[in-house]
């Protein structure tokens, strides 16, 4: 399923967080949205998933579920891993009576295997490492077979090996489910290893759009500052 965003605008009070942003992600593609903290990256994901309302513009999707993988996993801490993953199948009105408990158990085991985990169904989120929590949140997100997966900083706060593992699973999920993906990140490894296309945001506007290779060429001042992680450049950090 493709996603097209046209002239999207979102302001919080006086401040325009997203200012006339347009882009398109084709079916099965992975788009990375990059930029410094506070540039409006996560807001775009929340607008696409309808968690917040846009002020103006269009978000065109061709139907189907949109899954969201949250930055800090957002697993239900009072539920076990099994109940977290099976949550939508147990609680969603249109899915409640669709599967028997035996079928749900099989689906949960299959999704857990897809993210490289097994035998942790009875554990609670607090008993898992950060990387494992993230993978469980992947499994929970894909349990309904979504056509779009939105990842909000999926490798933030993880060690390099766990980050590589998460990047592998982002690719694996795309390959196995064919889902279109948008990954918000500021980690170069995630951009290089997972993205087909990249857009860079600054002050709510797109300042670069291209492939990861083009980003690394550092042809404009924004990409140069971002890739070299320099303080000097057109982008000023809030409070810097």
């Amino acid at each position: 399923m493709s996603i097209e965003v046209k002239n999207l605008v979102k302001a919080f009070g006086e401040k325009k967080v997203i200012d006339d942003v347009s882009f398109k992600v084709n079916d099965g593609e992975i788009l990375a949205i990059v930029g410094f903290s506070g540039s409006g990256k996560s807001t775009i994901l929340k607008l696409i998933s309808n968690l917040i309302e846009k002020d103006s513009g269009e978000i065109i999707t061709s139907g189907g579920d949109i899954a969201f993988v949250f930055q800090y996993s957002a697993l239900f801490d009072s539920l076990t891993v099994y109940d977290n993953i099976a949550f939508a199948l147990h609680e969603r009105r249109d899915l409640r009576k669709k599967y028997t408990e035996k079928q749900i158990r099989e689906i949960v085991a299959e999704k857990l295997a897809l993210v490289g985990l097994k035998g942790i169904e009875n554990l609670y989120p607090s008993e898992l490492s950060g990387g494992m929590q993230k993978r469980v949140s992947f499994a929970r997100a894909i349990v309904t077979g979504p056509k779009v997966i939105l990842y909000d900083e999926p490798t933030a706060g993880l060690d390099p090996i766990a980050s590589t593992l998460i990047e592998d699973y982002i690719l694996r999920l795309r390959n196995e489910t064919g889902a279109t993906s948008i990954v918000v990140t500021h980690q170069m490894s995630t951009i290089k290893r997972t993205a087909d296309k990249v857009i860079m945001l600054y002050d709510g506007k797109i300042v670069f759009s291209g492939t990861p290779e083009e980003l690394l060429k550092m042809d404009n001042d924004y990409t140069k500052q971002f890739v070299t992680a320099s303080i000097e450049g057109p982008m000023k950090m809030v409070g810097a």
Binding site: L51, I66, F68, A88, R92, R93, R140
Partner: protein, 269 residues
């Protein structure tokens, strides 16, 4: 012009009106959140979104876990009252009415209001902080992205549990209070249990019990609804959880006192 505006802003009148306006806006926002919660709960109920397992869990929380504290508070309140009035009433020749007085106090007022206060401090605060924590850790956003209605999943079982469990809690704690009154009147004034229990039925009528149970249902719903609404609309991390919990407790206290007053005016004025 700017100077005049600056001077005006320094005046006490301006600051007073500004403060009133800010509080009014906040009040309207809270009332809006609670009303939205109520309508969404009713809608979710009629759409068959009730999760029975969750309802049972919440009933256990409202009923079983709150009982020790409600029993203690109502029981001790009765001991305090009876130990002060029993001796005096016996002296004045009104020993035959100690049970009646305690029963009227407990059934009409103390049993339900004291249980309400106990439930607010124990269950209401925990509901508000639970939902507020879910809000600030994006668990409520996760419900939306999983296409599960948070009003149906979070509000509905809690509000229903409040309505279902508050009456039995009030009945049990009121009975306990009356028993505590009997024990205290025996110890403090040497009043026999028979005299005490015989007089109970002089003071209370079916109407008193009906009003008591109706109040209990209302209090249960209101406490759960206000606590859920404050938790649900929390923001700002750990501090936000604290603020939401405190405000939920304060609003619940005020709300049940107002409802209690309305019941008193409607049925006993």
């Amino acid at each position: 012009m700017a100077l005049i505006r600056h001077i005006l802003k320094q005046t006490v009148t301006y600051k007073l009106f500004k403060s009133i306006l800010v509080n009014l806006v906040d009040f309207m926002e809270v009332m809006g959140n609670i009303t939205t919660g109520l309508f969404e709960v009713i809608k979710a109920f009629f759409r068959g979104e009730l999760e029975w397992k969750e309802l049972i869990n919440q009933c256990e929380r409202f009923g079983i876990s709150s009982l020790p504290i409600t029993l203690s508070i109502v029981g001790m309140t009765c001991v305090i009252i009876v130990s002060q009035i029993a001796q005096e009433m016996v002296k004045q020749g009104g020993g035959n009415f100690v049970g009646a007085l305690v029963a009227v106090l407990i059934v009409r007022e103390l049993g339900v209001i004291m249980s309400g206060f106990a439930i607010i401090s124990m269950i209401g605060s925990s509901l508000a902080s639970e939902l507020a924590t879910m809000r600030v850790t994006e668990q409520i956003d996760a419900l939306y992205t999983l296409k599960v209605n948070p009003y149906g999943y979070l509000f509905l079982p809690r509000v229903l549990a409040g309505m279902l469990m508050m009456p039995p809690v009030v009945i049990i704690s009121s009975l306990f209070g009356i028993l505590a009154g009997a024990l205290t009147s025996d110890l403090a004034a040497g009043l026999s249990y028979r005299v005490y229990f015989d007089s109970i039925w002089i003071g209370i009528f079916a109407k008193d019990m009906f009003v008591c149970l109706a109040k209990a249902v209302c209090f249960g719903a209101v406490i759960a609804l206000i606590s859920c609404a404050f938790g649900f609309h929390a923001s700002g991390g750990a501090k936000g959880v604290g603020i939401a919990t405190t405000r939920a407790v304060v609003w619940s206290f005020v709300a049940i006192v107002i409802i209690d007053m309305l019941f008193a005016i409607a049925f006993f004025f």
